[in-house]
């Protein structure tokens, strides 16, 4: 099929207004948040329903058309950039909230629904979600789940996406079949439980970076808004002490003392570590106990009381977007991933060595937030495009290489413009199994080719 026949084929599925090959449109999708170079798709389609996604995949298979999939577009490791051109699916049109089940405490949404939109509707019913990233209003549920993403919000208690919050999914296989997982797929019962009959097929999609199927719906566990919430901030001058605090907060596994615990340090001000803490309680006595306990832990580890408004501002703008985001330049996240709870200072030391001592780059943050028995660490560099691009890429490459050598579990892999070059050859038999699964589900290798699975 030539390009115009493919265009017409897609028009027949999604309609004229939902497919484009206009270069103005194509360029507007050519980058994510990372400094990765532009990757321009040949066409973009905006499916509005699962059946349209299914029809697109059958069509793409027949024509061996590469298909890339994008949610809110906020990946920072080139997770959807169309490496081989082809078709890019913009899932944002699938933004509906399908059901909020107040009895089972679940919400079912289309994958293009944003956390911002979902939380707005949940709050009208006295509910909220478990945990999320800090990506602002455009981050979608689908994007978060498909990468098993996570940010500081709620993560100390509930972990990253997929750990507690995903109960069931609907997705379209690369060959076009529609699959439903979780209890909702069994015998007509509601989607209240992820596990049940056979292995966890929901987990197949979580963290798959879109390579094994296209997520179209998700059922999430939600929770009532706690009776009490508060915010604290402590400053520390030693990451070993911060590590001890994180260790103590997450040790009561299942009854973590904070809802969120985040810490960061600027390369321009080494030795001043600011922490942000979000406390919660469904019972005021329990809340007061946690608050007292948290203070005791921080003070024991030489934390100095800081300005709690910093934490309040940070945690209450999760979905609305942090203020002053790019005041020092465009962000590039690097060295992002998960590490065991007792290894935090080692990673900070390497960051200091590379960013502060070797490159003397003043606009960089090293940060970490806890999840149950671990840390997610990250660095973000603020830079000016295009002048500082080379410098930050050099820093970034060095950090990614060192962190992976040290054993970080990368937050996202992406493609050749992401973290893939750094982990190549290090994943052993697990990666071989992933390849086999990919081959079985996507025999023509058309879905997200060269992303995650090579």
């Amino acid at each position: 099929m030539n390009k115009s026949e493919i265009y017409e084929g897609l028009v027949a599925i999604v309609g004229t207004d939902s497919v484009t090959d206009l270069d103005f449109d194509l360029h507007s999708y050519s980058r994510d948040l990372s400094p990765a170079r532009e990757r321009v798709a040949s066409m973009i389609a905006r499916p509005k329903s699962t059946s349209e996604v299914s029809a697109i995949m059958r069509f793409a298979n027949r024509n061996k058309l590469p298909v890339y999939v994008r949610g809110g577009g906020g990946s920072h490791w080139a997770a959807w950039l169309p490496v081989h051109g082809g078709l890019l699916l913009d899932m944002y049109a699938m933004e509906d909230i399908l059901e909020i089940d107040e009895s089972n405490l679940t919400a079912t949404v289309q994958s293009g629904c944003t956390w911002y939109k979902l939380d707005g509707e949940l709050r009208k019913k006295g509910l909220t979600y478990l945990s999320s990233e800090m990506g602002g209003p455009s981050m979608t549920v689908g994007g978060s789940v498909i990468k098993a993403g996570g940010g500081p919000y709620g993560t100390t208690k509930f972990g990253l996406h997929g750990q507690c919050d995903v109960l069931g999914l609907e997705f379209v296989l690369p060959t076009g079949e529609i699959v439903r997982t979780g209890s909702g797929a069994y015998l007509g019962v509601p989607n209240f439980r992820r596990y049940g009959i056979g292995p966890d097929m929901t987990g197949l999609l979580i963290g798959s970076e879109g390579t094994l199927g296209i997520l179209t719906e998700a059922t999430l566990q939600v929770r009532p808004i706690p009776e009490a919430e508060d915010f604290l901030s402590f400053t520390f001058d030693d990451w070993s002490e911060v590590m001890e605090v994180g260790d103590a907060i997450t040790k009561p596994f299942g009854d973590e003392i904070a809802y969120a615990f985040e810490a960061d340090e600027e390369s321009s001000e080494l030795g001043r570590i600011v922490t942000r803490i979000h406390l919660y309680g469904y019972d005021k006595e329990m809340f007061e106990y946690r608050k007292r306990k948290l203070r005791e832990i921080c003070e024991k580890h030489k934390g100095k009381d800081g300005d709690p408004s910093v934490s309040r501002e940070f945690f209450t703008r999760v979905t609305a977007g942090l203020k002053g985001l790019f005041s020092q330049g465009v962000w590039h996240f690097t060295g992002c991933g998960m590490i065991p709870i007792r290894r935090l200072p080692e990673f900070n030391e390497v960051w200091r060595e590379i960013v502060a001592r070797k490159y003397k780059f003043q606009r960089c943050t090293f940060g970490a937030w806890t999840f149950p028995r671990g840390w997610t660490v990250y660095a973000h560099l603020r830079y000016t495009e295009p002048d500082e691009l080379e410098t930050i890429q050099a820093i970034s490459n060095e950090m990614n290489k060192r962190f992976i050598e040290m054993g970080i579990v990368p937050f996202g892999i992406g493609g050749p413009d992401g973290s893939l070059p750094f982990i190549r050859g290090r994943l052993g038999s697990y990666y071989e199994l992933l390849r086999s699964v990919k081959k079985a589900l996507d025999p023509n290798d058309i879905l997200q080719p060269s992303i995650l699975v090579e």
């Binding site: 206009l22 270069d23 103005f24 449109d25 577009g73 939109k117 977007g321």
Partner: protein, 386 residues
């Protein structure tokens, strides 16, 4: 700053966070809502602008349509205040200018608009005398007054009831006013919105000279587009450090007259009204409270807010020249706002912009809302103690 290349550093500041997209399709960007693709929103447009600057875009009728389908409502600019503080409105306007200056695939309606302003000095190509048709026999214009009333094209020629109400309020409060009459030219806002920078400069020069010639120190406008253009753009267009006169929007003057006790309201039949913030008065000029305070002062009227108000208000669809070039797109955006107004429980919408009134009113029937749409000046005048 009409050239796109002069904005290159601003364009590079975009970190692609997507704040400008908002949290759902019809939340922030009306252009994205009607186009559907990312190219409607500022994030996509910044990438496309880079491609334009680097010569990677093919100029085609579709490209023109994409670029011209921006309402210049400033919602993205407001959202970007939290991120990179990019003046997205100026950049998108420069993109339109870039297309216009190339002279390829310019929409007919844009060309007609330019010709109308060039030859008849108004956007409707009406005969210049018609600018004064709103002056009813009972309205007194004082040619020696220091206050100049500048109604603008839409008020004078399409919605004369706004000009009449304004003039009658001024007469009633013994606030003398003069007019430029046939010498009032389009303020230039529709030209800037459609990329016609040079012609906008010409009309700015004319209007300023006319105002200066009459030694006017205070100019009163009904139209937020005129307001913003006179206050902000004229200095930019003509390289002035300062305007030689002060500009006031009718909502500001009416509020001042009320504070001075020159305006008093009688009780009116009970009614629930909502206020629609015009983009160029609210987000782009920072005037939110004066209209609300006035409405709340009127006994019998209960003001309710739409879910999205003040800096978060959804555009009426009338701005950015889109109503002129792509009226169907303007209607789609208006329908969203009318639905929202209906959900607020109001039976009517008050606005303080002739173009907002024009576009919302034209779409009321299609919305099935049965709402009345009135300008603040009409509401104020009809509620005055006689």
């Amino acid at each position: 700053m009409s050239r796109l290349s002069s904005h290159v550093n601003e364009i590079m500041k975009c970190g692609r966070c997507g704040y400008c997209l908002g949290g759902y399709m019809a939340e922030t960007c009306p252009a994205r809502y009607v186009i559907g693709f990312e190219s409607g929103a500022a994030r996509g447009r910044m990438l496309a602008a880079r491609a334009m600057l680097e010569g990677r875009l093919e100029y085609s009728p579709k490209l023109t349509e994409r670029i011209y389908t921006c309402f210049l409502c400033g919602a993205c600019k407001t959202k970007c205040e939290d991120a990179a503080r990019i003046d997205t409105v100026s950049i998108i306007r420069a993109m339109k200018t870039e297309v216009f200056n190339r002279g390829i695939n310019i929409p007919n309606e844009v060309e007609k608009l330019g010709i109308a302003v060039e030859t008849r000095h108004n956007i409707f190509a009406s005969s210049p005398e018609k600018r004064m048709a709103w002056i009813a026999p009972d309205i007194h214009v004082d040619e020696t007054a220091e206050l100049l009333y500048f109604p603008g094209c839409v008020t004078s020629l399409e919605l004369p009831e706004i000009a009449k109400s304004t003039a009658r309020i001024l007469n009633k409060t013994h606030t003398g006013f003069s007019i430029l009459g046939m010498n009032e030219w389009c303020c230039g806002n529709p030209l800037l919105s459609t990329g016609q920078y040079e012609l906008a400069r010409e009309v700015a020069r004319h209007n300023i000279e006319e105002i200066k010639r009459r030694k006017i120190k205070n100019v009163l406008v009904s139209c937020p587009g005129c307001y913003k253009t006179l206050v902000v753009e004229y200095s930019r267009l003509l390289g002035l450090n300062e305007l030689p006169f002060k500009v006031t929007h009718t909502s500001q003057l009416f509020r001042r007259l009320s504070e001075q006790g020159k305006i008093s309201f009688r009780g009116v039949p009970e009614e629930v009204l909502t206020y629609h913030d015009p983009c160029e008065l609210g987000r782009l000029s920072g005037i939110y409270e004066e209209p609300r305070k006035l409405i709340r002062q009127i006994p019998g009227i209960r003001l309710v807010e739409m879910d999205r108000n003040r800096e978060n208000a959804w555009c009426c669809g009338g701005g950015g020249g889109v109503k002129i070039v792509y009226p169907n797109q303007a209607s789609r955006v208006a329908l969203v706002r009318l639905k929202e107004a209906m959900s607020s429980g109001a039976t009517g919408i008050v606005t303080a912009c002739p173009t907002c009134k024009w576009n919302l009113k034209e779409n009321v029937e299609a919305s099935g809302a049965g709402l009345k749409v009135i300008d603040l000046s009409e509401l104020v005048y009809s509620s005055l103690i006689s």
